[in-house]
């Protein structure tokens, strides 16, 4: 909260936190060259290592999250369903295609390579199978959360 400009219980004066009333930017002051990288760092950290306090850790677990989606074995459905949750406006088919090919499929042409990798993990969750899907899901969510569109969600 401090990083985002609002230090809880410590308002700058008796009238509380200042509203973003300054012309002409108004609410856009909230996003600036300082706060935006911090927002991106926050999502990156949540995905990669998480935050730890007093022996507890908060982390975005990509694989567990994917398992909650209706059809994570299909890379198209996986991206669509994740976007529905995290994004207010959908991405174009072209963007989704590129994200799928470059991240989930690591440049491969056929969707079934992801489907097979996911099925292998579900039926036999060894470390190797977990890592195969986990690295790709981490890249996926890191990419999505870094998109400008995500900040509008």
């Amino acid at each position: 909260m401090v990083n985002m400009g609002q230090n809880l219980h410590d308002p700058p004066n008796v009238s509380g936190m200042p509203a973003f009333y300054q012309e002409p930017s108004f609410h856009e002051i909230w996003i600036n060259s300082d706060s935006l990288p911090k927002r991106n760092q926050f999502t990156d950290t949540m995905i990669n290592t998480g935050y730890a306090r007093n022996g507890f850790r908060v982390q975005f677990n990509c694989v567990t999250f994917a398992q909650t989606l209706p059809n994570p074995g299909n890379p198209n459905d996986l991206i669509d369903d994740a976007l529905k949750i995290f994004f207010r406006n959908d991405l174009s088919a072209q963007s989704k295609q590129q994200i799928k090919t470059q991240i989930l499929l690591t440049g491969q042409q056929w969707d079934y390579y992801w489907t097979n990798a996911w099925a292998a993990y579900v039926s036999n969750p060894t470390t190797a199978n977990f890592n195969t899907v986990n690295t790709r899901l981490k890249s996926l969510f890191q990419y999505l959360f870094n998109l400008s569109e995500y900040q509008l969600a």
Binding site: S92, Q108, N131, E149
Partner: protein
């Protein structure tokens, strides 16, 4: 006087000691120390650039580099996809081996003495899954081993320790590695952070190549989207240097159109000429997963695979010509690889299935031209399970490039590979003699030099730090990324020189990067350690 000597003589080693800088704020220490450490260690002064061309999908090496001397066995094993002997292009200085008829561009590079083919590159116990095999090639691990960092990332981490803390700086104002066309890959993943950046990163360079950026809709949300994108571009640390480099080059040689690899290499040439000191570029080109209809049955020299190889060959030829035009030819070499080759025997769908070892190409005016290795052994009656046996381990290609192109001492090169591999690395004749002369390598570490390591790394709750002291007073501090000394593990006199270990118990500390700072006499060394779940 060498730069390193100057620094060693003018900066007291103790200047890095947190105790000495009491009175300075923690922040100042944090901002300065990585730079000073980088200078103290002496980054290898080279302007050499490596371009890694990834051919995704598993390229059929046997139809790319054709064993003419063994043609009858080659034809028997894959008659429905075989290239007619008369159509195989000969390569300069090599008899008994030729390349695919669509690769005329590459053939002319061989004629100019700027290309090399390395036969049957692979690794023991190959993996036939695209994902896993790609991860193995990027991390340089064994097939039985999970390694979480990439080989180029480990190299860049050695040269630029503590990245991204303190970067960009005057010593290295530019990105360490640039991937064109996708998210940053495992190849540039360092021990704890990724050393590379992607320039189709969603937040960065829409204009440089035809990345996919959705147009902002004409709604209030679209207006805010434009605004956020604008802020994003402004805050990208490297956006201005990359733009400046790209804008500095106004004229380039001609590249083929409708060729995404050529588009990517064109950007690389532009950034190299534009003055970026970036050492590693990665480009990728997909579609090599040719299980079926690899060739046109009527003419096996045409078809899907022929088109792909032609694009690769045309793109590399145009890139090489452009580098010459731009006058930076001596600074750049390139390397092609695919996650695996394909089976010797073709299948009944006029295609080939996932295989093992495959040839690699190196290109550049500093490359020792010709062929390394011999034609792959093809059995008289190849069965569906026959694979090309490996002649060269791909890790030896990487290590040779690090040693002979990036001019690192071999002992350092070995330290960048997993322990069970590094003793087997070969130095191969890939580059012309003398490319490293005139380059100032950092002084090779004295074998008696103090080394501090830790295992395991990354670790969960505790890790064992191993260090070698010359005797006398020895200090090991644990410093966090803010530069705070959290623990002092060793602070005593050792009567004799030797190797000792000490445990770092990190229970209760947040996850993230910690540095073990070792000091003994005038020597100091910092080791990055990553605490994870």
């Amino acid at each position: 006087m060498k730069r390193r000597d100057f620094l060693l003589n003018t900066l007291p080693a103790a200047a890095l000691l947190p105790e000495v800088i009491n009175g300075y704020s923690v922040k100042a220490f944090n901002a300065n120390s990585p730079l000073v450490q980088a200078l103290m260690r002496g980054t290898t002064l080279t302007d050499h650039v490596l371009v890694i061309v990834q051919l995704s999908g598993g390229n059929d090496g046997l139809n790319m580099v054709i064993p003419v001397a063994d043609y009858s066995r080659y034809f028997n094993a894959r008659s429905n996809v075989a290239i007619p002997e008369a159509r195989v292009l000969p390569i300069a200085g090599v008899s008994g081996t030729g390349i695919h008829p669509s690769m005329t561009g590459l053939q002319s590079l061989f004629n100019e003495g700027k290309a090399k083919v390395i036969q049957a590159v692979g690794y023991p116990t190959p993996n036939f899954s695209h994902f896993r095999a790609t991860d193995i090639w990027m991390s340089a691990s064994n097939s039985t081993q999970e390694v979480y960092s990439g080989w180029a990332g480990r190299y860049l981490n050695y040269e630029y320790p503590n990245f991204p803390n303190g970067y960009p700086n005057t010593d290295m104002p530019d990105p360490l590695a640039i991937q064109i066309g996708s998210t940053t890959s495992l190849t540039t993943q360092g021990p704890s952070v990724n050393m590379g950046m992607s320039i189709t990163n969603p937040t960065t360079f829409y204009n440089l190549i035809s990345g996919t950026t959705d147009p902002a809709p004409d709604t209030p949300a679209g207006k805010e989207l434009k605004f956020i994108r604008q802020v994003n571009q402004q805050t990208q640390k490297y956006s201005s240097v990359i733009r400046a480099a790209a804008n500095a080059v106004t004229q380039q040689a001609t590249y083929p159109t409708n060729n995404s690899l050529a588009d990517q290499l064109k950007i690389v040439a532009r950034l190299v000429k534009g003055g970026l000191r970036t050492r590693v570029y990665m480009v990728s080109f997909g579609g090599f997963d040719t299980h079926s209809v690899q060739v046109n049955a009527a003419d096996t020299t045409t078809g899907a695979h022929a088109t792909l190889l032609q694009r690769v060959s045309d793109a590399i030829k145009a890139f090489q010509d452009d580098l010459k035009f731009l006058g930076v030819e001596e600074r750049v070499i390139g390397m092609t690889y695919s996650e695996f080759g394909r089976r010797i025997k073709s299948n009944s769908s006029v295609g080939t299935d996932h295989g093992a070892a495959a040839p690699m190409f190196l290109f550049g005016s500093s490359v020792e031209s010709g062929m390394l290795g011999v034609n792959p052994t093809i059995p008289a009656n190849a069965s569906v399970n026959d694979n090309i046996p490996m002649q060269y381990d791909f890790r030896s290609i990487y290590s040779t490039i690090l040693e002979k192109w990036f001019c690192l001492d071999k002992t350092i090169v070995e330290s960048l590979f997993p322990p069970n591999i590094n003793t087997q690395l070969q130095t191969l004749p890939l580059l012309k003699a003398g490319v490293c002369s005139g380059v100032t390598p950092p002084p090779p570490p004295d074998p008696t030099d103090v080394i501090v390591t830790n295992y395991p790394n990354p670790f969960t709750t505790s890790t064992t730090i191993k260090f070698k002291t010359e005797g006398g007073h020895t200090l090991i501090q644990i410093i966090d990324t803010l530069g705070r000394v959290l623990k002092v593990l060793v602070d005593r006199d050792y009567p004799t020189a030797g190797i000792y270990t000490v445990n770092f118990e990190a229970e209760g500390l947040p996850f993230g990067i910690y540095y073990a700072r070792f000091q003994n006499g005038v020597t100091q060394q910092v080791r990055a350690m990553l605490k994870v779940r």
